[in-house]
């Protein structure tokens, strides 16, 4: 037993237990130490990677040469990220195709040359992979992976071309329109001394960091290169502008909105009569003072303020010697980033010559217009005169016709008047005989009244004939002709003219019946005159009616010898007559043609046939 009462065996057991516990603790510590070293190595790898990344960042920040950046990048991808190979393709601005710009890890000259000459066309299906579901990694829209067992046929097709067995393909810039392509990978699958291509997130951390770092630099540099290219173009444009500015005949200016010239070219100075642009800038304090009409300057400024520009704005300007020129101004407002107007700039064209030409043209046009107006007035007056003459002609025609008709009335009345005279003269005789009874009185009176009624109707017929037609009506042609013949009955008998009317009794036309009667009277009177003048014995006029092709055709043919061929084309002209001044006015046939063709939209023609003339009316 020990002093504290415990046995040696107990103490031994405690010590054994304690030893065992300590041994277990040591084992745990060694295991933990192993883990610690393991983590430490990984941490060190990461720190080294970040350090390398930092160094890379310094390198690429130190240059603005795209080629240098790309070379640093592919070197990093191989030397630091431990991929066997890396190649950078950048997009050619002109063609849009991707060309290899920087390569690393291609130590076989033939392979290097082959990859160096590889071009990925702008429309290559490979590029479409970045926007196609399933081809790209789900979380990385800009990354494609080609590795054994996890690669599309399309990506595999690039293995032999690019001499990669497995690779990762990053698109820098928008996946839909990449600016550059970075390809990293290995010529052998499962490489011993290179980083294996893997889509596992852990494996992509380093590459992701690297791409994140370079992508912005590469994109920015590409854009800077593009900006530089544009700047060069701008410089070229500026030189061209300056060339134009210095040598242009037109005036080019910049001025403040307040009205002070900031810049002017020699052309403007010459235009305004100054020795040099400097003299112009030094002597003109307010552009508005140059304007002959200051309100035009205000309008110009108002237009620019409102719409940002003016185009072909005409104004009169004073030259230095106070002479006036016309100019055409095109200008715009140049604004700063905040939208405030910085200055106006524009071009002034001297249009004085043009204005003078325009003025001459304007005066010429005015003279022409005056002449035209005078001429129109005179034409109007002439037309009015002609109309008056027409009216007079018509009146004459109607008066002549009236005279003709009065003759006919006289012919019509002669017999009834004789009858009436006989009856009146008979009354005293009968009375003296004592035979004058009531029956006689009634019988005589009735006879006399019948005669008077007849004469009265005759008057009514003539009066009706002279009532002007105002409204077109449909009338029976035959009835109209027969009525007309009744008006001429006396004359026709007196002249021993036989009238034969034949043809379609139902033919109707739409027009002015009285005017049509006037035409028929003219034709019949002309035939009568021809009969009389040529002393024809068997006088005959045939009037035929027929319907043809929807029209009514009236033929008036006589046997009075016809119309001489020399004048057959002139007989419808006004004042043309063969009858002599005592008998004809020369307006009968003119009026007849006017009535048929203008008033009734028909045709009146004439021809010679079978020893006479034939007038053909088509309605």
């Amino acid at each position: 037993m020990t002093k504290d009462g415990s046995s040696k065996d107990d103490r031994w057991s405690e010590l054994v237990h304690e030893k065992e516990t300590l041994a277990q603790q040591v084992k745990r510590l060694i295991r933990a130490e192993g883990l610690l070293y393991n983590y430490q190595e990984k941490l060190d790898d990461q720190l080294r990677e970040y350090q390398d990344l930092y160094d890379l960042s310094k390198k690429i920040l130190g240059t603005n040469q795209l080629q240098t950046i790309l070379e640093h990048a592919v070197e990093y991808a191989t030397a630091r990220l431990q991929y066997e190979r890396a190649v950078f393709f950048t997009r050619c601005e002109l063609s849009g195709n991707f060309v290899a710009c920087a390569l690393e890890g291609f130590y076989n000259e033939a392979e290097r040359a082959e990859v160096r000459s590889t071009v990925i066309a702008h429309d290559a299906p490979l590029l479409a992979c970045f926007i196609q579901e399933g081809e790209r990694l789900l979380q990385d829209k800009d990354l494609l992976v080609c590795q054994e067992g996890a690669c599309s046929d399309l990506l595999k097709s690039y293995r032999s071309v690019l001499h990669f067995e497995e690779f990762l393909l990053y698109a820098l810039g928008p996946p839909s329109a990449p600016l550059a392509l970075l390809i990293v990978g290995n010529s052998q699958a499962d490489p011993s001394f290179y980083r294996a291509v893997s889509a596992a997130p852990d494996s992509l951390i380093g590459l992701g960091n690297f791409v994140s770092l370079i992508s912005s630099h590469v994109e920015n540099t590409i854009l800077q290169v593009e900006v530089e290219r544009i700047r060069q173009l701008e410089m070229l444009a500026e030189r061209k502008y300056r060339d134009i500015f210095e040598n242009s005949v037109d005036g080019i200016f910049r001025r403040t909105p307040q009205g002070r010239y900031l810049d002017a070219n020699p052309g403007l100075a010459r235009m305004l009569g100054y020795d040099s642009p400097e003299a112009l800038l030094g002597e003109v304090y307010r552009v508005a003072d140059l304007y002959v009409r200051p309100s035009r300057h205000d309008e110009l400024v108002e237009q620019i303020e409102r719409q940002g520009f003016v185009s072909a704005f005409d104004a009169e300007l004073y030259r230095k010697d106070k002479s006036v020129i016309w100019v055409s101004i095109s200008a715009r407002a140049a604004r700063d980033e905040k939208g405030n107007i910085s200055f106006y700039e524009g071009v002034i064209e001297d249009i004085s010559e043009r204005k003078r030409a325009e003025e001459a043209l304007r005066r010429s046009e005015q003279r022409y217009r005056q002449l035209t107006e005078t001429l129109e007035q005179r034409v109007g007056e002439t037309v009015e005169e002609l109309r008056e003459k027409d009216r007079m002609l018509i009146l004459q025609s109607r008066l002549a016709l009236m005279g003709e008709l009065l003759n006919n009335v006289a012919h019509q009345w002669r017999q009834p008047l004789n009858m009436l005279a006989l009856l009146v003269q008979e009354v005293p005789v009968i009375f003296r005989r004592g035979s004058c009874d009531e029956a006689y009185i009634d019988g005589t009176t009735r006879k006399e009244m019948d005669i008077i009624d007849y004469m009265s109707r005759t008057i009514d017929d003539f009066r009706h004939f002279f009532t002007p037609d105002t409204i077109k009506t449909t009338f029976n042609v035959l009835e109209n002709i027969q009525h007309t013949l009744s008006l001429l009955e006396g004359m026709l008998k007196a002249c021993h003219i036989e009238i034969v009317v034949k043809g379609d009794v139902g033919a109707e036309v739409c027009g002015y019946p009285n005017q049509f009667s006037q035409v028929m009277i003219n034709l019949l009177n002309n035939a009568r005159d021809a009969f009389e003048r040529r002393e024809i014995d068997a006088r005959r006029i045939e009037i035929g009616l027929e319907r043809s092709a929807g029209n009514v055709v009236i033929r008036v043919a006589d046997n009075a010898g016809g119309i001489p061929e020399a004048i057959v084309d002139k007989i419808f002209q006004p004042y043309f007559t063969t009858k002599g001044p005592e008998q004809g006015t020369g307006i009968g046939l003119f009026m007849s043609k006017t009535i048929i063709e203008k008033h009734m939209q028909g045709v009146l023609e004439v021809r010679n046939r079978k020893g006479g003339a034939e007038f053909i009316i088509t309605l």
Binding site: I30, G34, L35, E104, F193, Y194
Partner: protein, 399 residues
């Protein structure tokens, strides 16, 4: 008056193009001392490189000077440590006070002892009365090195036994193929050897910095360099208790976290340590065995040990003190360092490793021609006996 001199330049390259890397490192080495053609070249490189192309380019630049070296897990030069897959260091030496005789022996399926004897025969041809050191670079995966070393030593005349230094070639944890360099050839399964002769001398130090954890264990069943049982249980089972994770995954790295310590005889402990350390280079899950780089016998005592950073710092300090003591104030002409892979990036952080190296180097001089590599086993004498070490740093100063 004859001026006796030695010019040594060191260059390195981290280029991945093997041809360019070899050229760059060799040119840098020769330019460092404006050397037209070296007498001898040491080359250490990692296995990412195309080895034959690498050597060819080095030889092209160095004018076909005799060359020895091997692949390592990383290379070391003055102020630089690189454990990447693509690195190469070249030391070019021109001296009229030293001569270099290099030989190579191919394993050709022979036993380690046979190879050792063959190496001795080859080496004998270049041995001279003034030979003072031997450097050996052997395939770290092909040989049971302890017997090879014993056979090599035994094959040399007793009066011409030399201190042997060097390391077992490595392949960056791939454990598939290491390379030994001899002139134009980068071979596997061979031993490359250099004999230094002349008026120069060597001073060296070796230290491992490991410490036992737990009590003594006994090997209860073994054969050659394979240990089947410890304390009556399968060796792998005894080890597994100390290892976190799946033993099948990166065994070579997992097993680094603990190693086996064997007590040295008292007379060998002087200037070294109580234990010599062995790395378990392989295992057999079915047999439950582990393989080390020296033969053991049943009943041998062993201790499970672990690496200790403080002891390593202290060990390097004592190493340099020992070396400077040996040199007696004379400066090194050049220095070779053979460092265990277990003392590299798997143990030290990058900065720690560099600080440790800087301390070591600056204790021996300034801007010294320095070359070394990370090995699968280090070779250096302790107390007059050539020994294979694991988890050790061997520093050899030629002065």
């Amino acid at each position: 008056m004859i001026i006796v001199a030695t010019a040594v330049g060191v260059g390195f390259s981290t280029q991945r193009n093997s041809v360019e890397a070899g050229r760059e490192a060799a040119r840098a080495a020769m330019l460092q001392v404006a050397m037209a053609r070296p007498d001898f070249v040491f080359v250490f490189a990692t296995v990412g490189h195309e080895q034959q192309a690498l050597l060819r380019s080095v030889r092209e630049v160095t004018g076909g000077a005799p060359l020895s070296g091997c692949s390592g897990e990383g290379v070391i030069t003055w102020g630089m440590v690189d454990e990447s897959n693509f690195t190469v260091a070249v030391m070019a030496i021109k001296s009229d006070e030293m001569r270099f005789g290099n030989v190579s022996v191919n394993g050709d399926g022979r036993s380690a002892r046979q190879v050792g004897r063959a190496l001795a025969e080859e080496t004998y041809r270049v041995l001279a009365p003034d030979s003072f050191a031997c450097f050996v670079f052997a395939d770290g995966l092909a040989f049971d090195f302890e017997p090879l070393l014993r056979a090599f030593e035994g094959g040399l005349p007793k009066d011409q036994r030399l201190p042997v230094f060097g390391g077992l070639s490595a392949d960056n944890w791939i454990s598939r193929k290491t390379y030994q360099y001899h002139n134009d050839e980068a071979s596997s399964g061979t031993v490359s050897c250099v004999i230094l002769s002349g008026t120069a001398q060597v001073a060296w130090g070796v230290n491992h910095g490991c410490t036992p954890v737990g009590t003594k264990r006994i090997i209860t069943r073994c054969k050659g360099n394979v240990i089947y049982e410890i304390d009556g249980i399968p060796a792998l089972e005894a080890i597994r208790e100390y290892v976190e994770g799946d033993l099948n995954h990166h065994w070579n790295k997992l097993s680094l976290n603990l190693c086996l310590g064997f007590r040295l005889p008292q007379h060998l402990q002087t200037g070294y340590n109580e234990y010599v350390i062995r790395y378990m280079m392989a295992k057999d899950d079915r047999a439950g065995s582990v393989t080390i780089q020296s033969d053991v016998e049943n009943g041998t005592e062993l201790w499970i040990t672990r690496r200790d950073k403080e002891l390593m710092h202290e060990g390097l300090k004592s190493t340099t003190e020992r070396i400077t003591g040996q040199m007696g104030g004379r400066p090194p002409k050049f220095v070779l360092q053979f460092e265990c892979v277990g003392r590299g990036r798997v143990l030290f952080r990058e900065q720690e490793k560099l600080e440790l190296l800087t301390q070591l180097q600056t204790r021996l001089g300034t801007a010294l021609p320095w070359i070394g590599f990370y090995s699968y086993g280090e070779i250096a004498p302790i107390s007059g006996c050539n020994y294979l070490h694991n988890f050790s740093a061997v520093v050899v100063s030629v002065y």
